[in-house]
């Protein structure tokens, strides 16, 4: 039963991810990406990681993709970027194949060791909170700072020159 759902959601996640990268239209890709996120969230839920599953939906599928769609739709269809495939593809494929091989190797190795059993409350909100806000609170705060710096940097880079542009545009 569980295996069935695992393969269902896992398979769907892979398929939707493939569809996402093969669509030429940004909005269509975004929709498929959302579907992919939902499948991943389902996988998390099956691992009893309810909090992470919900966050996956709330943050990624819900918030980020809504922003993404909004901006894409608002600005209209972006110009199609011609990828410089000739030089990039051999390099990318080599790296990908190497990574995949490493992954497969690790997976085949770990299979014999078996998974350590975890308690039911492992993925609960309390558990996650304790890990983040008690055990690793310094790293958590530092990460927060880093993101803040990134946001400020993005604002600085994206700001418009002051001359000749009406105030208030694009603040939505």
């Amino acid at each position: 039963m569980e295996a069935l759902f695992f393969y269902l959601f896992g398979g769907l996640a892979v398929i939707t991810a493939l569809v996402t990268i093969t669509r030429r239209d940004a909005v269509t890709s975004a929709f498929w990406l959302i579907a992919c996120f939902l499948n991943v969230a389902a996988l998390f839920a099956m691992l009893s990681a309810q909090f992470i599953a919900v966050m996956q939906i709330l943050i990624y599928a819900g918030a980020i993709m809504v922003f993404f769609l909004f901006v894409t739709m608002f600005l209209g269809e972006p110009r199609r970027v011609r990828l410089n495939r000739g030089r990039a593809i051999p390099l990318i494929s080599t790296v990908t194949v190497l990574l995949l091989a490493y992954l497969l190797m690790r997976i085949t190795n770990t299979q014999h060791r078996g998974f350590p059993s975890i308690s039911d409350s492992y993925g609960s909100v309390a558990m996650v909170s304790r890990k983040l806000l008690v055990d690793y609170v310094f790293l958590f705060e530092v990460t927060g700072l880093l993101l803040l710096v990134a946001v400020i940097g993005a604002v600085y880079v994206a700001r418009k020159p002051r001359t000749g542009v009406g105030e208030g545009e694009g603040h939505v």
């Binding site: 608002f74 105030e167 208030g168 545009e169 694009g170 603040h171 939505v172």
Partner: protein, 173 residues
């Protein structure tokens, strides 16, 4: 220009550009509005019979004798049209919806009668001027029929026969 939330039109406060919180949220007015609608709702629930609505096809409003409804042509005692085809009605008609072709009548006291008398009900504006103009009281708009429907344009053009027999119960030519 896309929606601007900072533009001058955003300042709805009236007194300066800044609105107070309660004003921005319209809280007081919202509650007043809710009170008004609730009052109407409850009044109507408990006094359903007092609502002004008429159950139209079942209950008909009394429009009174001044209602101008679909035309009819009056008859003489012998059943022939009272109309003498003088064309006063079609002359005065502001929408030019009446067309009459006159013909000679053999009877010496009649002399002239309509050969055809058609009214295009789609063009008619129901102003009632034809009734005012008629010197023989031959055309009236007192049938009480105002729900005029048909499934083709042609059927709205009514002829002499139709108009002569266009009566409602209780109204006899």
């Amino acid at each position: 220009m896309p929606y601007s939330i900072h533009g001058p039109q955003a300042a709805t406060g009236g007194k300066g550009s800044r609105m107070r919180g309660a004003e921005l949220w319209y809280l007081k007015e919202i509650f007043r509005g809710m009170y008004v609608t609730a009052r109407h709702f409850l009044t109507n629930v408990f006094h359903m019979a007092d609502m002004p609505t008429l159950q139209y096809p079942d209950e008909k409003p009394n429009y009174g004798p001044w209602l101008r409804s679909r035309h009819r042509l009056m008859k003489r005692e012998d059943g022939t049209p009272r109309c003498v085809a003088c064309q006063m009605c079609s002359t005065v008609c502001p929408s030019d919806c009446i067309s009459i072709v006159a013909m000679e009548d053999d009877r010496p006291d009649v002399e002239k009668r309509p050969e055809t008398f058609t009214i295009d009900l789609l063009r008619c504006v129901y102003c009632g001027m034809c009734v005012e103009a008629c010197p023989c009281d031959a055309i009236r708009m007192d049938t009480g029929i105002f729900e005029i429907a048909a499934d083709s344009r042609e059927k709205f053009v009514v002829d002499l026969d139709f108009l002569l027999n266009n009566t409602t119960d209780g109204v006899k030519p």
